[in-house]
Amino acid sequence: MVTTDEKGPLTAKKKSVIIRSCDGDEFLVSESAAVLSTSLKKILEEKEDRLIHLSDIDNKTLAMVIAYLSTHADDGLSDDLKRSFDQEFVSGKEFDVLKYLVLATDTLQVTCLCYTVAKKMADIMKNKLVEWVRREFDIQNDYTPEAEAEIRRLDAWAWDDRQLEDD
């Protein structure tokens, strides 16, 4: 299956590449969009072939990254529109979706999107109690109570009685 991205069908003038996800689906992407990823750019410089297989990025994540790349490769859109697209892009997404996105953008080296997604993930953790973070992300506390108390004592300056949200 070849999914055409919004930039239109393969034309003689516009070069395109096909990117295959780990699920086996293939995405047709314009070269101008693909090279916004530093990793893909390097691969395209080295190889003549126009099929790239990404063994660790699933369909859903890859589709999102490609939507981002295509939007940012569109010269017709203003920078303001692109910025508001970025905000829309990460808003309301589940933490796990963001997690796979941040891994994919890290692998593909899409610096701007990696930044936006990481910032969104940090926003979720901001102003939260440690207990909330543990609960939310299923982090198992493998410290003994004594060890944890010792760490809190060593970095006592970070543990003033500031009120944090616990919801």
Binding site: L54, K99, V102, D106, A118, M125, E136, Q140, W157
Partner: protein
């Protein structure tokens, strides 16, 4: 989905591990993903260390350090992230936890484990003996050993003139992209010193820096894009030459309380890549030298000049030299001297124009066919706008904030000037705000416009005639408002004036003064 960082190309594994400038040491002190994967994996810890630290870099230092107790994996993540960020203001000091000793201890931790710092951000109140000694010990280490240092930001926020002498090693931080200093002093630098190489942003607030040092920094950093100089001392001439081949944004603000206020300063800018220039001359006598016909700003979009004397006088925006600003969209001239004479502005690119004048009268001929918004504020005089040419078919707006000076000899000519100005702007949606220059005393009379003359009333979207100041003389206010209605008909009134008008209408229905005013 697994977390291998490999890209497969036709079955051929291409390792992209090396692409990340991951600190090898940093990864080695944390459990490897393999070790982690064999154990219990939660929703977040599957992420590699450099991504976790990237996420943590958006938190405050305090929040980042708190994550150390989440689990053993997180033990050193938050306290060794690549951005070192210590803000005294967010630090609650007590006897056991001095800001400086925690800062010292944390930096020692980076040093002991040979970890890199990419962003060094320290804000404190003012330099004292103790803080100076701690910083003098660590700044050379950070500047010379941290090979990936990108941002160096040291601010002393207390408004004191005791500058911190910044160690000259900072100039040797070759990887630095951004230098932000506040309350520091550059000492004289010798020719030997490397003055960065890759600086893109220079942001100095209350920094003592001399002409030579500034010019050297600019000339040895061709990549520089943003320069902000805010209330700096020691500079007499600003020369930004063509050497700054990537400069986009230049922002200069003088200190209002500058000791050398009487000294004449000059600004010479000749960087054709500039997109934004903002110069706030505050109270000191600045001259902006613009060499007509020579200086060309093909990319300049926004120009803001406040209390800057233009040189050569006022002609820089005339039709002959406005070609030097072919992309200028926003022009803001604020109390700027050098406009006393005939002010000519001719530009096809300007979309927003803002002029504020204080204490003098201007005569202007303005030709801006593509204007979208015009703002004018004057404390005293009305401008004589001989023409305001536009060919804009779409709606555009103008905001006029005027002061009515009751003491001027000829109040009638004031209204005639206002009428002329409104006519010049009649293609726009006008909002007109008028307030008296001072409290009107009881016996002052505002002369009504001659009853036998008909004025071509200009449509005005909003009219606000402030009643504040007329408390002792409502008859003066009434005449004033009546005069306004003779020359313009407002579609909306300020609420207060509207009630006033309704009252007048009821008491004097026979009067036809407002008859032509056609409100909605």
């Amino acid at each position: 989905m697994t977390i291998h960082k490999d890209i497969t190309l036709f079955g051929e594994q291409i390792s992209v591990e090396e692409k990340h400038n991951v600190d090898q040491n940093r990864d080695s002190i944390f459990p490897s993903p393999e070790t982690r994967r064999s154990n219990y994996v939660d929703r977040i810890s599957v992420l590699p260390v450099h991504i976790l630290q990237h996420i943590l870099s958006f938190l405050s230092q305090k929040e980042a350090v708190q994550t150390c107790v989440l689990s053993k994996l997180w033990r050193h993540l938050g306290s060794t992230r690549p951005n070192f960020e210590f803000l005294e203001g967010s630090f609650q000091e007590n006897n056991d936890n001095k800001f400086l000793s925690v800062l010292d201890k944390t930096l020692q931790g980076y040093r002991d484990q040979d970890l890199c710092i990419q962003e060094f951000i320290v804000w404190m109140s003012w330099p004292d003996f103790e803080s100076v000694s701690v910083l003098k010990k660590w700044i050379p280490v950070v500047a010379l050993n941290m090979r990936r240092l990108k941002i160096f930001n040291l601010c002393f926020l207390g408004e004191t003139r005791d500058y911190f002498d910044i160690p000259s090693e900072i100039f040797e931080a070759k990887s630095l992209h951004e230098l932000k200093l506040e309350g520091c002093k550059f000492n004289f630098i010798t020719n030997k010193v490397v003055l960065f190489k890759h600086l893109q942003t220079l942001h100095l607030t209350r920094v003592y820096i001399e002409d030579e040092t500034f010019e050297k920094i600019i000339s040895s950093n061709p990549l520089i894009e943003y320069v902000t100089l805010n209330r700096c001392e020691g500079l007499k001439t600003f020369k930004v030459s063509k050497v700054a081949a990537n400069l986009k944004d230049f922002d200069l603000t003088w200190d209002k309380y500058d000791h050398d206020i009487d000294q004449d300063r000059s600004i010479e800018i000749d960087a054709p890549t500039l997109e934004t220039i903002r110069i706030d001359g505050s109270e000191s006598p600045n001259k902006w030298y613009h060499h007509q016909y020579r200086n060309y700003f093909p990319h300049l979009k926004s120009l803001y000049l406040r209390n800057v004397q233009l040189s050569p006088k006022s002609q820089i925006f005339s039709s002959s030299s406005c070609n030097n600003f072919p992309c200028l969209e926003e022009l803001e001239l604020d109390f700027s001297r050098g406009m006393e004479e005939e002010f000519q502005l001719s530009s096809r690119s300007i979309k927003r124009l803002s002029i504020t004048v204080e204490g003098f009268e201007i005569k202007a001929a303005i030709d801006v066919p593509n204007i979208r918004y015009f703002y004018f504020r004057s404390d005293n005089f009305l401008p004589s706008i001989s023409s305001f040419a536009t060919n804009n078919n779409s709606t555009w707006k103008s905001d006029l904030h005027l002061t009515f000076n009751i003491n001027i000899d000829d109040t009638l000519s004031w209204f005639l000037k206002l009428h002329q100005m409104l006519k010049a702007l009649s293609q726009s949606e006008i909002s007109l705000y008028i307030s008296p220059s001072e409290r009107i005393i009881e016996d002052v009379v505002v002369r009504p416009l001659p009853a036998d003359t008909t004025y071509e009333a200009v449509a005005v979207e909003h009219l606000y005639c402030s009643r504040h100041g007329y408390e002792d003389s409502w008859s003066a206010y009434s005449t004033f408002v009546n005069n306004c209605y003779r020359i313009c008909y407002p579609r909306h009134l300020g609420l207060y004036e509207y009630l006033e008008l309704e009252r007048q209408k009821q008491s004097n229905t026979s009067s036809d003064n407002y008859g032509s005013a056609g409100w909605n």
